[in-house]
Symmetry: C2
Subunit: 161 residues, 2 copies
């Protein structure tokens, strides 16, 4: 079981967007360039982020992608859910109801403990990711290539006047 | 991102094995029959459980699969790891080092916070699954078809004398 590369790409790309000045967007090609990512593939993930309301795409000369709300109001869980969906990793197919040990339907009014344990663990995972906002991550020197991007970003923004 | 059906099958099948009398194994075909599972496909997962030291396969007239240690010493995490492996769902490919924001190698001695947050969440998930042993689950009336299996199991065991 493994996430798509889109999770890493999306979190880091959202951190770049968190560094944009007010009212300005960054075109997808430039966003891809910042981490040397394949633009077409990144665009697919950005669309998922737009659909999830994490990112918005604004038109015009200063347009492009930007965060749809403040970085302090977007959690890592929001980004991961936008890319990977929110269905659970564990799928209960109710095999407890099959075979020689099967009972009557009325015996299954309580969810299977196996399913509840799995669900509880996924909830713990999601809850941990919900504790961190993009703002918490944006100023970590070990991860923040975007902390060094001032010159690059200024050049990009100035080039379009 | 979704687990294989093998996770559900394996946990429930291990719970059936937890109900076996001392020194007795259950043949794979009978184990599959108990939850009406495809025997060949279940066998693949049982082999993974054997390799992980969760289940053992004993030879002889009373042979078959049985738990390799007491149910109280096998956690749900042990079973899930046997089936899904223990590599993390999040893969860090270090894109922070790529592109115009990239720094010198010495700037990356600390792991990226993005990667640490993802790892922490997976740790929370695994830790939750580690809290539950097969013995905890084996006597839950909502999940335990195996609590009603006495007659079936007795018949199976008696049939081989």
């Amino acid at each position: 079981m493994r996430f798509s590369d889109g999770v890493e790409w999306s979190v880091h790309s959202c951190l770049v967007l968190a560094a944009l000045p007010e009212g300005v967007g960054l075109p997808g090609a430039k966003l891809a360039e910042f981490h040397s990512l394949p633009a077409a593939y990144l665009a697919k993930h950005m669309q998922a982020l737009v659909r999830a309301g994490v990112v918005e795409s604004i038109p015009g000369r200063h347009g492009g992608y930007r965060l749809a709300r403040p970085a302090s109001e977007i959690t890592v869980a929001d980004v991961v859910t936008a890319i990977e969906g929110n269905r659970s990793a564990f799928r209960c197919t109710e095999i407890r109801r099959q075979g020689p040990g099967a009972g009557q339907p009325c015996e299954y009014q309580t969810a299977c403990l196996v399913s509840r344990v799995m669900g509880g663990a996924e909830q713990a995972w999601r809850s941990e990711l919900s504790k961190w906002t993009l703002a918490d991550l944006a100023f970590d020197p070990a991860s923040a290539a975007y902390l060094r991007q001032d010159a690059w970003l200024s050049d990009v923004l100035e080039a379009r006047g």
